[in-house]
């Protein structure tokens, strides 16, 4: 590489990374998602009565929902509402994206979801208390985040993958991850225009790496797709949404919530920092799991790349991105920590689900996988 680094070769034909196609509309998981899909099957200016109905159904369901994070119907509905801001849903008019009445529905769901996340995040933070009343330097913020990451002692999926996971479990693992990894980095990209100066430069530097440094076949999402294909999985965007439970969708919804709402810009930087800080070692273990099953470097490239990349990113994300943002806007410290601890909370809940399913000899997916698997 060396001297060639400054001018990446132009790649005119994308062979490894096909453009992301629109996601097919998933199966509904209850009356809320069912009401949403009914609305989205119409044009915005023709859906008035059904939109009103959707709003009432959501209001009623939210009022009675105990565990929003684990609620299949709510998480799927939120996931699909957010998807309108990414690459859209099959057959759904693009104009739905900014339809005010649909945004109202999203906010009705986001409010209790955020409240549940803050409760879960608070529990994940344990006894940790952010220093009050003093301005923190970027180094101190990075130190706090690294300290939080070190307290992450949930069940270790990565060690299980390294030592014990069967081929079928490796496939399940990829299916869960595919919901995010096929659009890896996108939710954090929303934050770029909401930042300035040092944290903005830091985020762009990280994201450029996530997106392959100018080489589409090296985009992390493309590397992940290659690993999926190597295991005979369908790498088309959203192919396995129907197969994953609410908690897998909630992890992605957390990122979309914090990425799409400018007021949560602190949270999305904290999320990225903790995500990077808890990534290098697990990815080494994931790669070991695939090597144990006889897969070569082409298949483990995604994981190997993350061992090296995330050791760079964790420094930049902790110090320059999250730390730089707190230096510029000290009041955002609490939200930085919220994003970080919410990510930890959902990750350990997903890990607990995977491990309890696998320990009991069950699938961690909602249903048997589609035929392509």
């Amino acid at each position: 590489m060396g001297a060639a680094m400054g001018s990446p070769a132009f790649v005119p034909v994308i062979s490894a990374a096909e453009p992301r196609s629109t996601m097919k509309i998933p199966e509904s998981r209850g009356r809320v998602s069912s009401a949403l899909f009914n609305v989205l099957s119409q044009a915005p200016d023709a859906a008035g009565p059904d939109l009103d109905h959707l709003y009432r159904v959501v209001a009623g369901h939210v009022a009675g929902a105990g565990d929003i994070i684990g609620d299949e119907d709510i998480q799927l509905t939120l996931f699909c509402l957010y998807e309108l801001h990414y690459s859209g849903l099959d057959g759904v008019p693009d104009t739905w994206e900014w339809e005010p009445d649909l945004i109202k529905v999203r906010r009705l769901l986001e409010e209790p979801f955020e409240a549940a996340l803050r409760t879960a995040a608070h529990q994940a933070a344990g006894t940790f208390e952010p220093p009050a009343g003093i301005a923190m330097t970027s180094d101190a913020v990075a130190d706090v985040l690294f300290g939080l990451a070190a307290t992450d002692t949930g069940p270790s999926v990565s060690r299980y993958v390294a030592r014990k996971a069967s081929l079928a479990q490796l496939k399940e693992f990829l299916v869960h991850k595919s919901i995010y990894q096929l659009k890896e980095a996108d939710p954090h990209t929303w934050a770029i225009p909401r930042l300035s100066g040092r944290p903005k430069a830091a985020l762009v530097e990280i994201q450029a790496d996530e997106y392959g440094g100018g080489r589409p076949e090296r985009m992390h999402s493309a590397l992940f797709a290659r690993t999926m294909r190597g295991l005979g999985l369908d790498d088309s965007y959203g192919a396995y949404v129907d197969a994953v439970p609410a908690i897998s969708l909630a992890s992605v919804n957390l990122m979309s919530l914090c990425g799409l709402n400018r007021r949560l810009r602190g949270a999305i930087t904290g999320h990225l920092a903790i995500y990077e800080m808890t990534s290098s070692q697990p990815n080494r273990f994931y790669g070991n799991g695939f090597r144990r099953h006889g897969f070569g470097a082409d298949m483990t490239r995604y994981f190997d790349e993350h061992v090296e990349a995330d050791a760079v990113h964790e420094q930049i994300a902790g110090r320059d991105l999250a730390g730089g943002l707190v230096e510029a806007e000290p009041s955002l410290l609490a939200d930085v920590l919220f994003g970080a601890t919410a990510a930890m909370a959902l990750d350990s809940r997903l890990s607990a689900h995977l491990m309890s399913s696998w320990d009991a000899g069950r699938t961690s997916l909602r249903a048997s996988m589609p035929a392509a698997a």
């Binding site: 990451a149 050791a311 760079v312």
Partner: protein
């Protein structure tokens, strides 16, 4: 970098420096800018990204790059260099 620019960060003009090395507390060296990583005989060390983290604790499995192992071995750099 001219001789006057040595010393603390405040003296460094980041625009005229060809590269910079960030000395991360208890962690790697982050190197960005224009540089090459070569073996003692001058061959290029494979490099996948513009900005790299170089191992400083000696425990990385992918040296010369960092893989985060410094956190597991409780590597400490002592008082900040700057």
């Amino acid at each position: 970098m001219n001789p006057e620019q040595k010393g603390t960060g405040a003296d460094v003009d980041p625009e005229s420096a060809a590269g910079s090395i960030v000395v991360c507390p208890d962690g790697p060296l982050i190197v960005r800018g224009e540089f090459e990583i070569v073996t003692p005989s001058g061959d290029a060390v494979p490099r996948e990204r513009k900005t790299v983290a170089l191992c400083r604790c000696g425990a990385s499995a992918i040296k010369p790059y960092c893989d985060g192992t410094h956190k597991l071995v409780k590597f400490r750099t002592g008082p900040p260099a700057g």
